[in-house]
């Protein structure tokens, strides 16, 4: 190599600095596009609203900052309500994804190799259509005159007494619609990490437990479930974190009276032009989501330590 390539070129390519550059690149990215903007948002949350561009300014004298936005955050019922609605919706969506996704992920690991590839393809397939388009499709499905709604209504009317009969089911613009579409949208993010985890489990462990007297459900409870906790946590976070801050789905199918935090942030930034308030909500949401991430990192590090030896 060094015979063909001039020495100074060779040393330029192989110098030690490249390694540091490669390591530094993602950190630089994070600092520039996450830390600095986040710092701006934090600073902005301590400003006051003014009618100018940009629409915020700091107090002209000491202490320069004001806590007004945070004060409103913990006293104004709009923010408290939307915070709890966000957590509630995200929790229900995460648990639903887990209940639907776990059996699916486990099922995929129990079929042949080529069938596994096909089923995984089918799980990922919806991503090939625009997310927005899929949400609009749900709007169409949930509308009062859609075949979906008509069929569900007919099924409901068939089992209840005639005095309870209804014309149609109100699905659009409800919290239920938000959770339903979130479960639909985020299900692959639950299934994929769970599958990756379950697929790695040694099936001889199941045989060993069965050999030692455990019935199939006991084998699941004692062996499969505890060993899949890292997968459950990974999938849970991948669903919970985006669901808690979700904007598009509640805006399109949700009820304006029960706003989720994402929608509140958008309204404050947009129509209200209250940037400090929007920033304060964003900071609160981020702090709340960092908690689960720390828990996840703790478990991931523990699982890795166990797997290494």
């Amino acid at each position: 190599m060094s015979d063909v390539v001039p020495k100074h070129v060779d040393s330029w390519f192989n110098r030690r600095g490249w390694r540091d550059t490669i390591i530094a690149a993602p950190y630089l990215w994070l600092v520039l596009f996450f830390l600095v903007p986040f710092f701006i948002v934090v600073v902005m949350s301590f400003a006051k609203t003014v009618s100018q561009s940009p629409p915020f300014a700091f107090l002209p004298e000491w202490p320069y900052i004001r806590w007004e936005a945070y004060n409103r955050l913990i006293t104004d019922s709009l923010y408290i309500r939307s915070f709890f609605i966000s957590i509630y919706n995200a929790t229900v969506a995460t648990v639903s994804c887990l209940l639907i996704g776990y059996p699916m992920a486990l099922g995929i690991t129990r079929v042949g190799r080529s069938a596994q590839r096909l089923l995984l393809m089918l799980i990922i397939l919806p991503f090939w259509t625009s997310f927005l388009l899929r949400v609009y499709a749900w709007i169409g499905l949930m509308g009062k005159n859609s075949w979906f709604n008509v069929a569900l209504t007919a099924a409901y009317n068939a089992v209840v007494p005639t005095s309870w009969a209804i014309d149609s089911i109100q699905m659009m613009n409800t919290n239920f619609a938000v959770v339903l579409v979130m479960v639909y949208s985020y299900l692959p993010f639950m299934i994929l990490p769970l599958y990756a985890n379950l697929e790695r489990l040694d099936t001889t462990l199941n045989e060993a437990a069965m050999d030692l007297g455990s019935k199939p459900w006991q084998v699941f409870k004692d062996v499969t479930l505890p060993l899949s906790i890292p997968g459950i946590i990974a999938g849970g976070l991948l669903v919970f974190i985006p669901a808690a801050g979700e904007l598009i789905i509640p805006s399109l199918v949700g009820n304006a009276a029960d706003p989720m935090l994402g929608r509140v942030i958008q309204q404050e930034f947009g129509s209200n032009r209250d940037w400090p308030m929007a920033s304060a909500v964003a900071v609160a949401l981020l702090l709340f989501l960092v908690g689960p991430l720390i828990i996840y990192n703790y478990f991931a590090a523990k699982a890795q330590a166990g797997a290494k030896s």
Binding site: T204, L205, E207, A208, M210, L212, S214, D222, S309
Partner: protein, 372 residues
Amino acid sequence: MAVPEPKADFIRIENVAKKFNTFLAVDNVSLNIAKSELFALLGGSGCGKTTLLRMLAGFEEPSAGKIYIDGQDMAGVAPYNRPVNMMFQSYALFPHMTVAGNVGYGLKHEAMTPAQRKDRTKEMLALVQLGHLADRKPHQLSGGQRQRVALARSLAKQPKLLLLDEPLGALDKKLREHTQFEIANIQYKTGITFVVVTHDQEEAMTLASRVAVMEHGQIRQIGQPSEVYEFPNSKFVAGFIGSINMVDAEVISNDKAGLEVLAPVLGQPLHVETSQSFSTGEKVSLAFRPEKISISRHIPALATNTLTGKVQDFGYFGKDSLYRIKLTTGHVLSVNTVNASRISEGDTKVTWDDEVFLSIDPKALMVFKGDA
């Protein structure tokens, strides 16, 4: 080891077959195993030994035939309802449980008080000398320790039958020799019937009181290790167990004193003493083990079956030596000698390029029907 008569059919395997799609993994196997016996299923990979073991454990159902354990028909009995435990080749220890948790796991399903369970777990760990590691996780143990945890776990429920799948396969040579005796010892102490599956003939020979040699899903020979080694019933068994010299030959005469057999590659007829009968002119295979040949640089005094050749290769292994002797006909034989005396004693030692005389005891020659 004497087989106790009344319980000679503690495990009864009757005409058992197992078919996977079109592949016949186990082909009409019948076998009785006595109570408290240490029985080995020996064979190469794909011979059906593991499938047979998995049918005993209940992980596979036989396609045909019956399995009885202590008189009870095992057809349709799930693995968790069988009085059988298994030590897995990979050990299959539960990574999220401690050593004590692993050993005590099966006891959850026994009618025992927590104190009794704890005592039994302790007792089992003491049996494999791992009491001090009860709170460790499997990934904190060495390979040999994991193997002993697996053994303790499979013994904890005091099964009627313990199955061991390649129990020494993952251990290094030194540890293997030690563990071999430990397993035999524990088997003797507990009196539990052991069935060991192995591809390693040395392992089978040293561990087991009886060995079944399997090939293509069938049992080729069952017997005590010495029986299978010294009196193999077929060319396959003779070749599979230990090393052997095997050549094509023809019976040239046949009388009460024995046979005269001519193997063209040996250059001269050999005298064979055998109880089997062969007709003159019959094509046979002549086989003899390397250690049954004596080697000398001088003409032996009692010169029956003496061949001459030259040392082509010589390997010194400490306790014994292996020679490759090129006969005057050009054929190469393996000869094994035990180094009973020290090597420094000069001229008695045979080495490279020496002209040597080989003699073979007429009783040590084995004759099998058909070509080699």
